[in-house]
Symmetry: C2
Subunit: 404 residues, 2 copies
């Protein structure tokens, strides 16, 4: 099982066999590209997970209608700068027009095109710009994944890409993923878009089940600010162009494929957290020994979402009291007396009281741009990891001024 | 039913008949008084509500043991600057010693004394200072409520007091309350201490039931930062010194008393929110027309706790999109199509889309130090109000630097 991640610098230059991608600037945003596209030269098995927000944006409503949880796709069209959310029936018509126009451009039926939007809420899509951009997508398509990765960003400070090579089903395949964050980020899922592509042949129902499970353990455990967006979508496409046999749930290479999907998703989830609005540090909270996975997840999320923990991490303060208080407020069932808390490798709390730790060592564990908090319980085998970021004046500045 | 609140300036100078209170400085905090006390000259019916945090502080553990949900009290002793939380069995012994010492000082049995602490977590109480302070409580006791109100503060910027005069049970009575905030504030309940005193004669079980209901609708609907503390406690004492007959649940004046308790608690809850760490504005979110009260509460809390709403209010940005997205992420069951949102008197969202509103008027509704957000649904009769505050650079600064 080879799940070694390629470096992000390399990942952003890669596309699996038969996939093409790019991005153009159509003028929705002031700078940067704002219309991204993906094409597969053959129909690809696809699976999707959408936001649980009660106000799904128009593209989400459209996708639920035309793709649902899984199906077949030939292309993806994404704009940034405008979320096409809370735009009523006009918005839904616009999303449909966008889908149809790109489908015509690439010679596919409309239902074989996925549509995503991200950006400001409640403003009609500038359809003239979008349609002009779609008309400018080069045919035959090119391979410019970096342009795609840029075109989907909003307040993100950098592109997010991850890739794993693996041999599965007798073929040498590649799994590549692209994502954007970076505010209104919360389980189920985030103002988060993620697109995973593979040239391996993956049987549709296995692809869907595996992706759903991976999303649950990765993108759904990222929280920048507890605010779930109207536009979240994670999508995976598998076009089989690497050849080989179809990977089903009971194929011997199923675990390796699942692991590759997980590794790429986890890397993107971490990058989303790291690039949270105003963030200076990635926080990774791992809970082990909980009575079950759901309890571990609730505890990890309570810590990673606590504003007091987030500000303490920003201040590089080994504030075990706030970590313990966050566990305590979670509402999760656990034995408080059995808890050990570590910041990095430094035990800061155990046996129901603060440990006597070296303050300098603890501060050192907080000094880098990644902070690991480990919580060990004595209640069972449940474990979960959640990702977040510190809370800084930068977050406040961005969000007090950024106008949606 | 006269529930007109007296002004806070007046309230902080008042104590009901038979109650004495004061505060001294014993040196736990660098400045300001840090040990507060209350005495009733006769035993008072008492009811208490405590934090739900899984790590209750030592004084909470002690109170659950000696008072429980209701009982009889003669006095209250409170220190600020040190929470006596996560201090193990030593902490519990210290809380017990504090209780016993003050009981001896006022000539009451230990179980007739309530103990509360607030401040840094995980540091043993400086018992020498506490005991010296208790020995310095004047006997006979004085009436210096302003000193008490000051002695219970931590990062609060001002004292919090509220009072209502009312005639009930044939007596002219007074309900006075004192509270402190101001970070780690969240339902069930907050690093929040509240002490309500009345000289009316109130039957114990009615007092307890009424207080529990009032706490649910006031202190439990305040959120500064979602972090529930280890030390929260709300306490009410009724000593009957105003004379008159005992008010029971079916006494004709029961509603008036309940209303007075509510008015004082609501005023304190609002002051806690207004004085949230770094806050410049009080946010009051009222939801009406939900299918039931619990749903209304969940929706109101989702809006008042949303970092994106909080930063938008700070920026005085009429950002209806974030309000609607917060409703949508709440997980509460409601009909999204039937929602109307107002900022102050300005309708900003209705009929599933942004209303065409006057930007200047909407900004004006955000310009003051109190911002009202009204959400109207079409699902039923459930309503709830929640209070919070804006999120500013000040919150980050306070909590990135304040060391517990």
């Amino acid at each position: 099982m080879d799940t070694a991640l390629l470096s992000a610098d390399v990942a952003v230059t890669l596309l699996p066999e038969g996939f093409y991608a790019g991005g153009v600037r159509v003028g929705i945003k002031r700078k940067r590209r704002d219309l991204g596209w993906i094409v597969s030269d053959v129909p690809a098995a696809a699976a999707a997970v959408y936001t649980q927000n009660a106000y799904p944006a128009a593209p989400i409503r459209l996708m639920r209608e035309t793709l649902g949880g899984s199906g077949v796709l030939r292309g993806v069209i994404v704009n940034s700068g405008n979320a096409n959310a809370l735009t009523g029936e006009t918005g839904l018509d616009d999303a449909r027009t966008m889908q149809r126009a790109f489908a015509e451009r690439i010679g596919a039926p409309p239902e074989a095109v996925a549509v995503a939007s991200t950006g400001v809420i409640g403003v009609p899509l500038p359809m003239d710009k979008i349609l002009a951009g779609i008309a400018a997508v080069p045919m035959p398509p090119e391979k410019d994944p970096a342009a795609f990765a840029e075109a989907i960003l909003t307040t993100d400070t950098r592109t997010k890409a991850a890739a794993v090579r693996l041999r599965a089903g007798g073929a040498d395949g590649l799994v590549v993923g692209f994502a954007k964050g970076s505010g209104m980020i919360r389980p189920n899922m985030a103002t988060m878009l993620a697109f995973l592509l593979t040239d391996l042949a993956v049987e549709a129902s296995f692809l869907s089940a595996a992706f759903r499970d991976v999303v649950r353990r990765t993108f759904n455990r990222v929280s920048v600010d507890t605010d779930a967006s109207t536009n979240d979508m994670a999508l995976v496409l598998a076009n089989g162009r690497a050849g080989g046999e179809a990977i089903t749930a009971d194929h011997p290479d199923a675990p390796a494929f699942r692991e590759a999907l997980f590794a790429v998703s986890r890397a993107l989830a971490r990058e989303i957290a790291r690039d949270g609005e105003g963030a200076t540090k990635l926080i990774e909270v791992t809970v082990r020994g909980a009575r079950d996975e759901a309890t571990a997840e609730a505890l990890a999320m309570a810590v990673v979402e606590s504003p007091l923990v987030k500000t303490a991490v920003y201040g590089e303060d080994p504030n075990w009291g706030r970590i313990v208080a966050a566990l305590g407020k979670s509402g999760a069932a656990f034995n408080p007396a059995g808890v050990e808390v570590k910041i990095g490798d430094v035990v800061v709390f155990a046996d129901d009281r603060p440990a006597s730790f070296d303050e300098t060592e603890a501060r050192a564990a907080l000094a880098g741009n990644e902070v690991a908090i480990h919580v060990r319980l004595t209640d069972g085998d449940g474990e979960a990891t959640a990702w977040g970021c510190d809370l800084t004046e930068g977050y406040v500045k961005i969000n007090a001024l950024y106008r949606t």
